[in-house]
Amino acid sequence: MSALPLDRDPEMGHGSAFGSYVALDEATIARDARRKVRQRRMLVWLARVAMLVLIVGGWQLLTSIKIVDPFFWGRPSGIVRQLNDWVRHGTAYGSIWLQIWITMKEAVLGFGVGVVTGIVAGVLLGQVRFLAEVFSPYIKVMNAIPRIVLGSLFTVALGLGVSSKVALASVLVFFVVFFNAFQGVREVDRNFVANARVLGASRLAVTRHVVLPSALTWIIASLHVAFGLAIIGAIVGEFLGAQKGLGLVIATAQNNFNPDGVFGAMFIIAILTLTAEGLIGLLERRLLSWRPRSQIEVGVV
């Protein structure tokens, strides 16, 4: 355990290379630190690009030399061709944009219905203990059911149109949002509630000014997962029976032994989900702007 000279700090980078007698001034240290951060960021991006090249290039190569059979697993060039074909000539059910629009409409509507009902139910049950006790076994049972199977019911009952997919998406979304809202309400600081009541707040005012904003951190955290589930609900719903939509496009590609089509649609869905994620992130930053900065950044990462 020998004591290190003070400026031999490994964090200081090049400074220590000149030996322990070099005294570094603040500006040099700051410049050094900035350069290190920049270098690191560059390295991460380079590694990311390298990884993409490796995966896509490897895929293409392996399918070219027939180690992997492109008939089953598709190939990147085929996916690009397929996407190009969809954009230029449309799918069997109309233009690709129409399919995207239909699927997004189903997902967004389902998301909206699920989020609103989830928040209302969560806040209600979180505040009224009696209701929570009555409902809790049923909610547990509902949560244990593989809810995606409900899609079959909805398709039969609500038909091949948009409504059956909205129903499936909203059921999937509901439970995630509900559990988070419920937990969020349970975690509200008792002091805040007591203080508001002493100041003369009605039950409704306590909910509006104290309980809801406090639970919002929890609720918003659930929205990221919830939107992914809404898309899954819409796609699976279309799989089970539809006249339009990306899910139907995927099902058709499957039936035609066209893996490039499946991958192409997957790629489109990924872009849509990422866009929605970004929007939810913006909403989060706006609604939770009162939080200290570091906390927000940790939340985003």
Partner: protein
């Protein structure tokens, strides 16, 4: 149907009372108050036993006692946040039923809502009582100025220092012009200097409107420096052991300096004698529980 009507009438009653009682101090009386809690395992635990206490209107009453003697419980029952298991709490002659009107509460951990600005936090009291938002905010602005927080209206609580948050809490508590101010170790978490400044601030503001105050604290010097009467409570189950009148003249001036007055020192000795027994009693009891383990390590 009938219950809604009764509720509405009670509300009407409350607002009428508010408008006439605003700022006027109220008489507080605890009569043989007992509070028992039932633990999750089903056994009962007595926090308070037969507490008798009278606080005259406009008096500043400090309550001291060992940890866990039910000081905070007393406050929640005066506020109407909790009900006694036995006995009765009367405020202004009326038995407490539901939230006591005209009351403000300052907690040990400040209850400022982190998602609201300082201005909105202070304006909450009037807003909850149906005052239009613009009027409430104007009043909040005025109160922030009075506690020395002008210019911090749009900050969020986490951007303020501990002392500033206490000032904001104080403004939020006083803006409703309460007839009773309940304080549960409000300055307990502050450093000594900030605590002294806040105590002076509190005395200055209290002398303007003179609500009845119950101030719970661990700090006997703080209690004597601030209060008209100091209540010593016994180790749990808590009950009133003795009440001492503090006859130091008002206005008291700086709390740091009053500590050197001979009369202050005399009172401190006298009350400490009484408090020490209880503190030692409570400590020996907690040491008996935690003791063997501590000694081994």
């Amino acid at each position: 149907m009938a219950s809604t009507f009764a509720k509405r009438r009670r509300l009407a009653h409350r607002t009428r009372e508010d408008s006439t009682d605003a700022g006027r101090a109220a008489h507080i009386e605890l009569n043989a108050v007992t509070k028992r809690f039932v633990t999750p395992s089903g056994s009962a635990f007595t926090a308070l036993r037969d507490v008798d206490l009278v606080i005259e209107p406009g008096k500043f009453c400090a309550v001291v006692g060992p940890t866990g003697c039910g000081k905070s419980t007393t406050l929640t029952m005066v506020a109407g946040l909790d009900r006694p298991s036995g006995g009765v709490v009367r405020v202004g002659g009326e038995p407490v039923d539901g939230i006591t009107p005209g009351i403000s509460f300052m907690f040990q951990v400040d209850a400022l809502l982190p998602w609201k600005t300082v201005l909105s936090n202070v304006a909450l009291g009037p807003v909850f009582r149906g005052v239009p938002k613009r009027v409430a905010q104007a009043r909040a602005r005025d109160w922030l100025r009075r506690v020395g927080l002008a210019g911090f209206e749009d900050h969020h609580p986490h951007q303020l220092s501990g002392g500033m948050r206490k000032r904001a809490s104080l403004a939020a508590a006083l803006i409703n012009e309460p007839s009773i101010l309940l304080m549960d170790e409000p300055f307990g978490a502050l450093d000594v200097q900030t605590k002294a400044i806040m105590s002076n601030e509190l005395l200055g503001l209290w002398e303007q409107t003179k609500p009845s105050v119950i101030f719970v604290t661990h700090d006997l010097e703080e209690a004597i420096a601030l209060a008209d009467q100091v209540v010593v409570m016994t180790a749990g189950p808590g009950t009133v052991k003795a009440v001492y009148d503090v006859d130091l003249p008002r206005p008291r001036g700086a709390v740091q300096e009053i500590r050197f007055e001979p009369r202050f020192v005399e009172l401190l000795h006298q009350i400490w004698e009484s408090l020490r027994e209880e503190v030692e009693h409570a400590y020996s009891r907690s040491a008996a529980v935690a003791g063997p383990g501590e000694e081994r390590s």
